[in-house]
């Protein structure tokens, strides 16, 4: 893939209360890629995403998102990225329509544009029929899909999905994965996603990065990692094997 670089970091470091959460991280993501961001809990994946969003200031190092520095222009960066946090919550007393209208307003969208996008987004994620239901009554899967709808309203070029499948049932997980593939293929979105469901990551990601204890221990297309680590050609590996190998070494 020879597309332009959308996200790049250089020696990005974050120290929380004397503990290094992200340690001199350098990586790139190119336009249109689906990048699987893997690693054990507490490895610093979410912190990295927050730094890219301009929600947390890095202790040192640089980051660029679509050519913009998130430390200097966080508002601009946040306007261009759709972020779905892990364990996100919604205002329980609003229905889906009100939730999305509020987000549209926060993004400063004109009313008419907003209404069009809201309807399209709700249809895309399959929540149009339930759009008048209070979000408090939604199932986990519906809420995650509402999160995707919220992201679509911004029509971002880049999406950060932090554990989009966490706590979903098999059917919900499948629908979520199909949605993500759709974002990537139909809307040409660049997607960074973190997940522990390695077989699914293997299915939809073009490249993966494995992060352990704040360090990126490996990144690249899966075939390449397989060759490096396991010494087997394509086809004969699972991401799980690669991951466990790296994990044990670290």
């Amino acid at each position: 893939m020879e597309n332009r670089i959308v996200i790049e970091t250089e020696d990005l470091t974050k120290v929380y209360n004397g503990q290094i959460a992200v340690d001199h991280l350098t990586f790139q993501v190119r336009e249109g890629e689906v990048f699987g961001f893997l690693g054990p809990n507490g490895a610093g994946k979410t912190t990295t995403l927050l730094m890219l969003l301009g929600l947390t200031e890095p202790t040192s190092g640089k980051a660029r998102v679509l050519g913009v520095d998130p430390v200097r222009e966080p508002i601009k960066v946040k306007g261009m990225i759709g972020y779905m946090p892990e364990n996100m919550g919604f205002y329980r007393d609003l229905d889906a329509l009100q939730t999305l209208r509020f987000v549209a307003e926060l993004n400063g969208l004109p009313k008419q544009v907003a209404e069009e996008r809201i309807e399209r987004a709700l249809r895309t994620v399959g929540l149009f029929e339930d759009s008048k239901k209070k979000v408090g009554a939604y199932s986990k899967g519906m809420r995650q899909r509402l999160g995707i709808a919220e992201l679509l309203i911004k029509e971002p070029k880049v999406a950060f999905l932090d554990e989009p499948t966490l706590g979903l049932d098999p059917d919900g997980t499948n629908r979520m994965m199909e949605l993500i593939e759709q974002l990537s293929q139909e809307r040409k979105m660049t997607v960074i996603l973190t997940s522990h469901l390695l077989h699914l990551v293997q299915r939809i990601c073009h490249r993966v990065g494995i992060m352990i204890k704040g360090k990126m221990v490996a990144q690249g297309p899966m075939e390449q990692l397989a060759k490096e680590k396991l010494g087997v050609g394509a086809e004969k590996y699972t991401l799980e094997e690669i991951y466990m190998k790296y994990f044990k070494e670290a």
Partner: protein
């Protein structure tokens, strides 16, 4: 200000549709109406004993019909309005995971806290204005008193001071909702501060003044004055005292000072009785201006502290 308007609108509609607000409003209205009714009933007797009644309309707010006057009621329970509206504004969003979602939208972090504070202030204003209007209406109906222009101005100033006062407590509540993650913790902390200032400080002021000036001989005016001064200085730590003093001569024009003890010779007493004219509103304002400014200052400081802490908090810990 990115997002301020949207957040303000949402917060305001949240306030007005919440049960908490409705119950609070019903409660306050009920008590106010009871007070106004009792005042209205006893007012006729009071008026009969006065030679030349002035500011009859303001008496609706100041005279103690049964237990306490409306002004006292607001001084005492007004803080609860602010506390109840604000104690979970930030930490609820944190706990439910909506704050990180909100902040990942292109909005400034200040907009979140500004929008919440503003919406709270507007809610408080609407509540206070409607209570005053209700009582005015009741007064008109029951006692047939019509407010003069001067009285309308005074009520206006009183309303503004009250709104600032309650907003201060809203600021305190928001500060705790930023500091503490637990909603119950922040509610309790805010309540503790309220009790400290409303009960503990006045009591402490008396105890300390008694300790410092143990000999309160009625023939020793210096000691009495000293006692009163010490007591006053300590009790001014409490915003409630500030508020009572700030509204004192505004709502009661016959009071000319915020001091509690005034030394007077017999001749002065005579001239006071002879020429006891009420203060004009301008003079009243002049008397209480320091208190009003102080009240605004502590509100601003409290908000500034919340603001700084909120702006520096790591998102990870949100």
């Amino acid at each position: 200000m990115h997002g301020l308007k949207a957040i303000f609108k949402k917060e305001l509609s949240d306030h007005f549709s919440s049960y908490r607000f409705m119950i609070l409003f019903a409660l306050i209205t009920m008590v106010s109406l009871i007070i106004a009714y009792m005042v209205g009933m006893t007012m006729r007797e009071e008026l009969a004993s006065m030679a030349k009644p002035k500011y009859v309309f303001l008496m609706l707010f100041t005279s103690r019909g049964g237990l306490f006057s409306l002004v006292q009621f607001i001084a005492f329970f007004g803080p609860l309005i602010g506390l109840i509206l604000g104690f979970d504004l930030i930490n609820r969003e944190r706990n439910e995971g909506t704050l990180s979602r909100l902040l990942s939208q292109p909005v400034y972090r200040d907009s979140v806290i500004n929008g919440k504070f503003l919406a709270g202030v507007v809610t408080i204003s609407i509540m206070m204005v409607s209570i005053v209007l209700l009582i005015t209406g009741l007064g008109l109906r029951m006692a047939g008193v019509i407010p003069g222009l001067d009285e309308v101005w005074r009520i206006g100033v009183y309303l503004i001071i009250s709104i600032i006062y309650i907003s201060f407590w809203l600021g305190v509540a928001i500060l705790f909702s930023i500091l503490f993650r637990g909603i119950a913790t922040s509610a309790l902390a805010a309540l503790a501060v309220w009790i400290f200032f409303s009960f503990f400080v006045p009591l402490g002021a008396t105890i300390i003044a008694d300790a410092l000036v143990p000999d309160l001989n009625p023939n020793n005016p210096e000691a009495i004055i000293k006692h009163a001064k010490i007591q006053k200085a300590i009790s001014l730590v409490s915003p409630m005292q500030l508020y009572t003093d700030a509204t004192g001569t505004i709502i009661d024009p016959t009071r000319k000072t915020t001091r509690t003890v005034v030394l007077m010779g017999p001749l002065e007493k005579l001239s006071q009785a002879r020429f006891a004219g009420p203060l004009t509103i301008g003079l009243s304002l002049l008397v209480v201006m320091p208190y009003i400014l102080l009240l605004i200052a502590i509100t601003a400081i409290c908000f500034a502290i919340s603001y700084t802490i909120f702006m520096r908090q790591e998102i990870r810990s949100l």
